[in-house]
């Protein structure tokens, strides 16, 4: 799910950047008298529409990614609690060594995957902000 989001996010973000750069190119052409005002307005009109579309799409994606990041943070906290609880039970000799090892490995793997995904999402969000 993340990779699909990330891919869309990256595509939309780069398209938005390109559209903004195109607008800048049009501004330069107008300033250099290489383009007339009516042609500029015609081209910039559709470009502004594109920029608005990309921005609203990106905003929506950001919102979803922020929600997902919150969800992952909760998940990471929960996994950490499970790990602490596991350690305590191990110290109290409530668990067999084999069970302890298995559970610990599972929690640690889950925690790592959660933290990796979270880092990736936060990285993507930071790129836009």
């Amino acid at each position: 799910m993340l990779s699909s989001w990330k891919n869309t996010f990256d595509v939309v973000h780069s398209e938005l950047e390109l559209a903004k750069r195109k607008k800048q190119a049009l501004d330069e052409l107008l300033a250099k008298n290489r383009m007339s005002q009516p042609t500029y307005e015609h081209l910039v009109g559709s470009l502004n529409e594109n920029i608005d579309d990309f921005e609203s799409h990106l905003k929506l994606l950001m919102q979803k990614m922020t929600e997902r990041a919150d969800e992952l943070e909760n998940q990471a906290e929960l996994l950490k609690l499970f790990l602490v609880s596991l350690e305590m039970r191990n110290i109290a000799k409530e668990l067999k060594q084999e069970t302890y090892d298995k559970n610990k490995q599972a929690f640690e793997l889950g925690l790592k995957a959660t933290e990796d995904e979270l880092a990736e999402i936060k990285g993507a969000i930071t790129k836009v902000i």
Binding site: A25, L29, M35, P38, T39, H42, L43
Partner: protein, 499 residues
């Protein structure tokens, strides 16, 4: 409201078809024009129709071997003359006034001839009457305006898609390409700045190293100077002690002390001398290092930055490409000066104006389409109502209904409810259906037109059916003209009247 048409009408024809000269009087009621075959009955009808409609070409009216002809109608105390003249090129032109109730649609609704119009269509098995109703209801005008608007829209759309506008349509692509060039230029500039900055730091580094070595060299030289000074002082001290010793008794205790002092001074001199030699060597080393650093510094200063040339060439190439692209954009936004239609104009403005025209024409098209649909729907409803009435009043046996469907297709329903294809009707049934349609058309669209003409259609009917149909027409139309074949008489058409 029916116009009062109960007046006599005198028809005078000259050089019409095979008729050299004939005068007939048409009276209110049923006028039966009798004549043998090929004696001019149909020509007479064609000549008369030219006084209220232009649907029969003048060349079909004027006698083939004549250059001039004439149709005169005396009606309502006035005389109406239509002249026909053959031009040197062989075509025939007509001139002259029409009768006051003239209407070109009357030919389709009130003149039943075997070879034209509804009768011809139905006897040929035709069953779609859209065009017929379009003509009679003037729906054709709406559809023509609509078609013309659509044709202009198509023309303008083709123009917008033509090569003339191709360069303008490529403007977004050109802007994208220009943006890419700008981005590449920015990257090249950033790399050049990076290389220059890196080179500058290397030069700064070499300057610092050289400065440090220079300071070390200065310190070493100062130290050597101190050592030399110290050695000189010690030598002076030794000379002084030696001069004291000459003045002193050699056996005295003082002399021994002076000798000791001289020995100490010599030892110190030797030590200083050694140190001086050592530090001099060190100074030589520092000097060599300093010279090496100086050379390195000079080399670095004069050194060309690696890769900078390539990048600068690339930057120049990009700048040229940018200028060319900007020129291409500038050219694409205008029509060439030598363009015959839009020379020098801004494409965007021509395009905007064309789009505005298309939008307006689409509205016109839509408006007239709607008017057309309303008119045609209303015409069909009224037409069907009149068909139904004529059908009921004629009390035709064997039929249940005759009507036009929503696609203007004619349907004939037999008594048993079975729909019968038009082409399978008998000759008299086809004729009856044709007459019903024409009467309905007249009632619907030309209620005030005073004539109804049946040209030699009686052959398909038995006498009683013929009488029944003609009497029905007579009840609805002031003047009924019927042509009939006869083998009697002089060969010229004659009229008998039945009121």
């Amino acid at each position: 409201m029916q116009r009062d048409t109960r007046q006599r009408l005198v028809l005078d024809l000259k050089n019409v078809g095979p008729l050299k000269q004939i005068q007939l009087e048409i009276k209110p009621g049923i006028n039966i024009i009798r004549a043998p075959n090929a004696s001019g009955k149909t020509s007479l009808i064609r000549g008369f129709t030219s006084m209220f409609s232009d649907q029969v070409p003048p060349a079909h009216i004027l006698a083939l071997d004549e250059v001039q002809g004439r149709v005169t109608v005396q009606y309502g105390g006035k005389s109406y003359v239509k002249s026909f003249r053959r031009t040197p090129s062989g075509s025939v032109v007509a001139s002259g006034p029409m009768l006051p109730f003239a209407d070109h649609r009357a030919f389709d609704a009130c003149v039943a001839m075997a070879e034209t119009g509804v009768v011809h269509k139905i006897t040929g098995g035709g069953s779609i009457f859209r065009e017929y109703l379009e003509n009679l209801s003037y729906g054709k005008y709406y559809s023509t305006v609509s078609s013309v608007a659509q044709e202009i829209v198509n023309e303008l759309s083709r123009e917008l898609a033509s090569q003339r506008f191709e360069r303008f349509e490529s403007l977004p692509l050109l802007v994208t390409e220009l943006t890419n060039l700008y981005l590449r230029r920015e990257q090249a500039e950033a790399r050049i700045a990076g290389l220059r900055s890196s080179h500058e730091s290397e030069v700064q580094d070499a300057t610092k190293k050289k400065g440090d070595k220079k300071a070390e060299l200065t310190r070493q030289e100062a130290m050597l100077s101190e050592l030399r000074k110290e050695l000189n002082n010690e030598k002076e001290k030794e000379q002084q002690l030696k001069s004291f010793l000459e003045l002193t008794d050699d056996s005295a205790k003082v002399a021994a002390q002076i000798k000791n002092g001289i020995s100490d001074s010599k030892r110190r001199q030797e030590k200083t001398q050694k140190e001086l030699s050592k530090e001099s060597r060190r100074l030589a080393g520092i000097k060599a290092e300093f010279e090496k650093l100086e050379r390195q510094y000079q080399d670095k200063l004069s050194e060309k930055v690696k890769g900078l040339n390539t990048l600068e060439t690339e930057l120049q190439r990009l700048n040229k490409a940018i200028i060319l692209k900007e020129e291409a954009i500038q050219q694409a936004e205008k029509f060439p000066e030598d363009d015959p239609k839009y020379g020098g104009q801004l494409v965007v403005e021509v395009r905007k104006e064309t789009m505005r025209k298309i939008e307006w024409l689409n509205k016109v098209n839509e408006y007239f389409q709607e008017k057309y649909m309303r008119r045609m729907t209303s015409a069909k409803i009224r037409f069907n109502r009149n068909i139904n009435r004529a059908f009921r009043e004629l009390e035709l046996k064997g039929f249940e209904n005759v009507f036009l469907d929503q696609n203007f297709g004619l349907h004939v329903v037999r008594e048993n409810g079975v729909r019968q294809p038009i082409e399978t009707l008998s000759a008299s049934e086809k004729l009856t259906v044709s007459l019903i349609l024409m009467l309905a058309a007249k009632e619907t669209f030309l209620p005030d037109f005073p004539f109804f003409i049946l040209d030699e259609l009686t052959l398909s009917y038995d006498p009683s059916r013929f009488k029944h149909v003609v009497n029905y027409v007579r009840q609805r139309v002031p003047y009924v003209i019927v042509t009939s074949l006869t083998s009697e008489g002089t060969g010229k058409p004659t009229v008998t009247y039945e009121v």
